[in-house]
């Protein structure tokens, strides 16, 4: 588990896992490797602490979180990089 990273597409209303509106990830750290470190991607393409996964695990009825592979997550980030850089 230490070093493992899980990625989740944040699927808002009208979106799909292939075209989500955000991306979250859970890393594991701490001395025993069991400390959950939850983050979400910001528009600046940085990973910042975020509670999206915790809220989803606790029954939040908002956006859906869909597990995606690391490769899929990388593709999403690359796509947004192009999109958002063009807007800046």
């Amino acid at each position: 588990m230490p070093g493992e990273v899980s990625y989740y597409a944040i699927v808002g209303v009208g979106r799909t896992a292939q075209a989500p509106s955000g991306l979250a990830r859970r890393r594991y750290g701490g001395a025993d490797g069991r400390l959950r470190i939850d983050e979400a991607l910001r528009r600046e393409l940085t990973w910042e602490p975020d509670a999206a996964i915790v809220e989803w695990e606790n029954g939040d009825a908002g956006a859906n979180l869909v597990p995606v592979s690391e490769a899929a997550a990388a593709r999403l980030v690359a796509g947004w990089r192009v999109l958002w850089d063009g807007e800046r």
Binding site: G12, E55, A61, G62, W80
Partner: protein, 642 residues
């Protein structure tokens, strides 16, 4: 469990009517239809979920009585179709099957139609019955729905006929053709408001019991006028209202003068009613909240023995304590400042009162010592609690600009900071001026949809009255007694949620996200444990029958932390989403107690180690909640694209 799933599947497939069409109906539905044609319309109506106001099927899948055709109910023109005596002698062409149309001997009104109902002859409608209705008013209408009671009404109104203007006869005439019980009762209302006799036949049908008010109360509430088309809930929830009459002033739930909710006066008297089951539960030997057996008692409290948040004295269900005492919600205090703005006309907003009280050390579930705990993890400063703020400014300090005032306020308790440019900041969240304005607008839409009027009370329209009507239809369980105070999210809570969404949905605009805040309006049902699964199903049925669309259902009974079912619905009339939770008293109790934990858990600034610790405590609390039978079988659901 397949049976249970079948029931839920039937509910959650909006395009599937959930029953087979009768053979005759199927035969009438060809495969190819011209769009907009009558057959196309009929086919679309058939696809509506049973119980929908426009569906031809009732909740129980029985077919509704046919709707009267307007042309059969229209009024005669002056000078036409008069009887021998010059008064209206038009025989009604309604659905009564009796010898309708006999001229009234007195020349007053006309038809004497015996209806299709077996007892309709008892309530034979004469013209003077109709005219007498002007004095009938509310009682007549309600009684009409009660069936045999309506008969007595009809007789009573017969005696009142002399009071009525002659012009009413024509209207009564038309209505009477239906010859059904309650026809007359309903017509009285309509008489009083320019006699929309066209409707009376339908009302009569409602009284006959089959439709039982589908459209009935709509007209009643409108006091003789058509209910606005933009208030679909009146119609939607009406079918059950006549029997329950949750808004009957005489029942005491609503203050007749102000139309405001009076929990102490009616069925929600204090905490006694709703929490009686909880009392039993907690009073049992296995009671997880029994003070003597409290697993969270002082000696076991991992936080602070002197400030045990689970102490019986702080129990929100404690009969001696004020349920949902704001003092028990320590982080709610900052909302106080926004209460006047949010409810400018509501004098009842006193419960938002003293911010200082909300931050008194004793109210903090984390620590009763003088170190209250912010969601962000940092302890409150002494100045946060008292003595802050509004002292004389230092010489030279600008006291006129908004920034100066805001800075002073921010020095105090956990209050939002409004920037000079209109930006908003609170608990580490930030909204630009434009985003803050978007949040204001979005919450404004929620406020309108929720239904509270400018006087702080409720009428018939809006989500909260609709939910109360749904509650009245349930065999088991209730909404929270203080639903009216909780339904609409506080402004700063809304902005905080929006700020989180903006950060985690970078590919969506703030305007889009403002409409996706799932709990801008929210409701919570509490069911007894033994009835939980069925009651949740029934509530879903009623919600759908009221025209709301289920978008998301999350079953969290297997969760370690939050336990219950949460759901998101769409109100098509306002195109807004709202949240509904389904709990037992025990699970809701834990949700309430753990709220500060949850706030801290979901605060991005909470250190990861502390978050893990908080989650462990939350899980420990939730482990004590008994899982209702069948609850884990309630399927999850997410509408495509939702």
């Amino acid at each position: 469990m397949s049976g249970a799933h079948d029931r839920w599947d039937r509910l959650t497939e909006p395009t599937a009517p959930g029953r087979d069409l009768p053979a005759g109906d199927a035969a009438r539905l060809p495969d190819q239809r011209e769009p907009g044609s009558m057959s196309d319309l009929r086919r679309r109506l058939e696809r509506l979920p049973p119980g929908h106001p426009s569906s031809p099927y009732n909740d129980d899948l029985t077919r509704k009585a046919p709707v009267f055709r307007l042309k059969d109910l229209e009024l005669p023109l002056h000078g036409t179709e008069n009887g021998p005596n010059g008064n209206g002698s038009r025989t009604a062409a309604g659905h009564g099957h009796g010898p309708a149309g006999a001229p009234a001997p007195g020349g007053n009104t006309i038809s004497e139609g015996t209806g299709s109902e077996g007892t309709a002859s008892e309530s034979t409608v004469r013209g003077n019955t109709i005219t007498g209705n002007t004095a009938g008013g509310d009682t007549a209408t309600r009684n009409a729905a009660a069936g045999d009671t309506a008969t007595r009404d009809a007789a009573g109104r017969d005696t009142a006929a002399g009071n009525t203007a002659p012009g009413n006869t024509a209207r009564g005439n038309t209505a009477s053709g239906n010859g059904m019980r309650g026809n007359d009762a309903a017509a009285g209302r309509l008489d009083a408001a320019n006699g929309l006799a066209v409707l009376s036949g339908r009302l009569g049908t409602a009284a006959a019991g089959e439709q039982d008010g589908n459209g009935f109360d709509r007209y009643e509430t409108a006091a003789g006028t058509y209910a606005p088309a933009s208030e679909p809930y009146e119609t939607a929830a009406d079918p059950y209202e006549p029997a329950a009459e949750p808004y009957e002033p005489a029942a005491g739930r609503y203050n007749g003068a102000t139309d405001s909710y009076e929990p102490a006066a009616g069925r929600y008297n204090g905490a006694a009613d709703l929490y009686e089951p909880a009392t039993e539960l907690y009073g049992a030997a296995a009671d997880p909240y029994d003070a003597t057996a409290d697993p969270y008692d002082a000696t076991a409290d991992p936080y602070d023995a002197t400030a045990d948040p689970y102490d019986a004295t702080a129990d929100p269900y404690d009969a001696t304590a004020n349920s949902y005492d704001p003092a028990g919600e320590p982080f709610d205090g900052a909302d106080d400042d926004y209460a006047p703005a949010a409810h400018p006309y509501d004098a009842a907003d006193d419960d938002y009162a003293p911010a200082a009280e909300a931050y008194t050390p004793g109210s903090d579930p984390y620590d009763a010592s003088a170190e209250p705990h912010r969601p962000g993890g940092e302890p409150f400063e002494a100045a946060d609690v008292a003595g802050h703020g509004w002292s004389e400014p230092e010489p030279g300090v600008d006291t006129l600009t908004q920034a100066a005032v805001g800075a002073t306020a921010d020095d105090g308790a956990d209050m939002p900071h409004i920037g000079r440019d209109g930006s908003w900041e609170w608990n580490g969240r930030y909204l630009s001026a434009e985003e803050s304005h978007i949040a204001d607008e979005a919450l404004g839409r929620c406020r309108i949809a929720e239904g509270r009027n400018v006087f702080g009370g409720y009428g018939h329209s809006g989500l909260t009255p609709a939910m109360r009507r749904i509650e009245a239809q349930l065999e088991h369980g209730n909404l929270l007694p203080d639903t009216e105070d909780r339904a609409l999210k506080k402004l700063d809570g809304f902005k905080q949620t929006l700020a989180d969404l903006i950060m985690r949905h970078p590919d969506k605009s703030a305007r889009e996200l403002a409409l996706e805040v799932p709990d801008g309006i929210s409701y919570t049902f509490i069911f007894e444990r033994e009835h939980y699964a069925d009651a949740t199903l029934q509530a879903h049925s009623r919600l759908k029958g009221s025209g709301f669309d289920l978008e998301v259902r999350r079953n969290c009974w297997d969760n370690a932390e939050y336990k219950g079912v949460s759901s998101r619905w769409r109100d098509p009339a306002h195109d807004l989403v709202f949240a509904v939770q389904f709990h037992t008293a025990a699970s809701w109790g834990v949700v309430q107690r753990a709220h500060p934990l949850y706030e801290a858990m979901t605060d991005p600034s909470t250190p990861h180690e502390e978050r893990e610790h908080l989650r462990a405590i939350y899980a420990e609390m939730s482990a004590m909640v008994p899982v209702p039978p069948g609850a884990t079988a309630i399927p999850e659901y997410r509408k495509e694209g939702a």
